[in-house]
Subunit: 397 residues, 2 copies
Amino acid sequence: MAKVAILGFGTVGSGVYEVLNENAEGIEKRAGEPITVSHILDIRDFSNHPHSELFTKDFEDILADKEVTVIAEVIGGKTFAFDYTKKALMAGKNVVTSNKELVATHGAELLKLAQENGVKYLFEASVGGGIPIIHPMYTCLAANEISEIFGILNGTTNYILTQMIQNGQSFDVALKNAQELGYAEANPSADVDGIDACRKIAILADLAFGKQLSPDKIYTEGITNIDLSDVKYAEKLDSVIKLIGYCKKDEDEVFARVSPMLIPKGTALANTSDVFNAILVRGNAIGDVMFYGRGAGKLPTASAVVSDIIEIAVGNCAKIMWENCGDDFMKDISSETASFVVRADKSFTEDKAKEIFGNITVIDTDGEFVFATNSVKEALMAETAKNYPIKKYIRRF
Amino acid sequence: MAKVAILGFGTVGSGVYEVLNENAEGIEKRAGEPITVSHILDIRDFSNHPHSELFTKDFEDILADKEVTVIAEVIGGKTFAFDYTKKALMAGKNVVTSNKELVATHGAELLKLAQENGVKYLFEASVGGGIPIIHPMYTCLAANEISEIFGILNGTTNYILTQMIQNGQSFDVALKNAQELGYAEANPSADVDGIDACRKIAILADLAFGKQLSPDKIYTEGITNIDLSDVKYAEKLDSVIKLIGYCKKDEDEVFARVSPMLIPKGTALANTSDVFNAILVRGNAIGDVMFYGRGAGKLPTASAVVSDIIEIAVGNCAKIMWENCGDDFMKDISSETASFVVRADKSFTEDKAKEIFGNITVIDTDGEFVFATNSVKEALMAETAKNYPIKKYIRRF
């Protein structure tokens, strides 16, 4: 029998408990042994819980129990999670987690620590909620050299953008709706500022390219500046605006970015609406594969955490490692090229735009001067926006 | 060093050889050891191949080599493949395969034989070509009770239907194009008659529900009867026609079917065009997840075969088993309910249709009488088609 301790009894933690109990029979069959929760760590009072005897406020209780072989760290954040995870791994306990912040910032170190202690650190739930993506990348796609990964990695922002696109809601109204539906937090910054998507693309790039990317070095732009005019201009280009996480390997350099982008209608990414996520992986043998589903939510995320627990019971043999080797291999986006939709003041003329960008496509001259560039250097776009009355620019995919 | 023997040097076999060579460095890193091809079995003459020394016409050469630990059976069909696979497993060699026919018909027996001999029988490439689906089902989705699986499982028929829908090509013209592009075989029966999709849905159901379904007991209808009028009527219902493999668990019974269906536009399945496959899995924790990509082709399929080889090198610990326990648990489709689009002779009146089916929606009365039923029993539809001048009926999803 495998004994599991759950750290944090919030949304995901209670989901893990629920899935382990509800699906106990099938899980036992697939794991080859029963999996039971022996401890739940939470500082709050759960003395009224039907299984209040499982709760503890002291992490040492869990560390001291030699029968606990797997710890599910679903606290989130770094403060306690990092410390507990290190202690657990050093005590020879396997750790599974949904904590994207911790994996993105300290993954290399924790994977190394796990290896040194002969245990596993698994994090299927850290990207895409319940969508299988981490595991397939190091198993099913292991025969490939992966060159690019991109997609819609955050359900909250995708819900907000979908409301703006399909129902003409303003950003503020759509955000408020998302909060009422429980899709967005009271403080929505991690989602709407792109921080969550940034951590996820960092983890995917780490795994695909073998080197840890510092999330704070990844160019990250959220959706707080997107307004209904942007949606309208995108529509004129037969496109929709999506928040896209993107990473690419170019020789020994890796390039990563999170930003709103215009996605042509009719494509799989444009068709990914509401809270759904879609992640495309491009490999040299497989071509493109896409993983699609709900990227968040209590039970889908718990499903992924529990799948890692089962993996450990069955005996996970995978070698998941990436190196922490500084940031030098991370390429600045300024040298990349892209086509942009530019919203400028009318004093910025078509002639001026052509002088700077070469050929352009005029989209609108009502009130402001809106145009699309051909493929130009990011640096040129940024520089021009600094020196001329340009309100904003959005990349086209 | 792991030594691999490839059985059959056709499209997939030569792809496996190519992927193992091209991506050797990355594969060695992920597998933890170099993986080299030591034997290739093919009855044809490859004396001009740059590595002609690898070729043999005698399977016993491979069996006798104790260093060969993995055999990639990519011959296809059952005649030789079944015999070789059994012999290999009994000789203590792991077998990986893309052979959906063999897995669908003899999977339970071969998995048991593998277990008895302490080796693995893996078949990621048998469904969805390179799309990760088999492996994620028994790992990432292992915390779920799976209730339904459905999707577009055959790229050839999806290409043909896409041509009919988007370019107004007749079935015959679209098939001819598919053959010219190498998407369809000279004898296209396995694809266009739904046999290939039937084997794939059988394998997915086997894996999800733990019992082997006899492919020949699965209701299977191909696309040879679909014409441009069907496409037009679907359009009137804002739908497109797709060949759908479907399976569902209902208490202890399993229900499976392959048939053309009307899929509402705007959905992920309707948007899956050309040779792409899309497979949806519904679990009680995860909700719906979808796997999407090219379902066939030399390198994508080889990518999946090689991923299984790497799995074995790394040490695959999964318990993949299903039972062979007769067909009694397979539910007949006649008791299922569905909504149908019915094409009848004009002598079959609206009044008659309403008398039999209750409320109906008239779609066309030009030349023939075309209508859609509400949800009715399959048995009622089949019985009515037998007794009245009904030319054909197509299910709506």
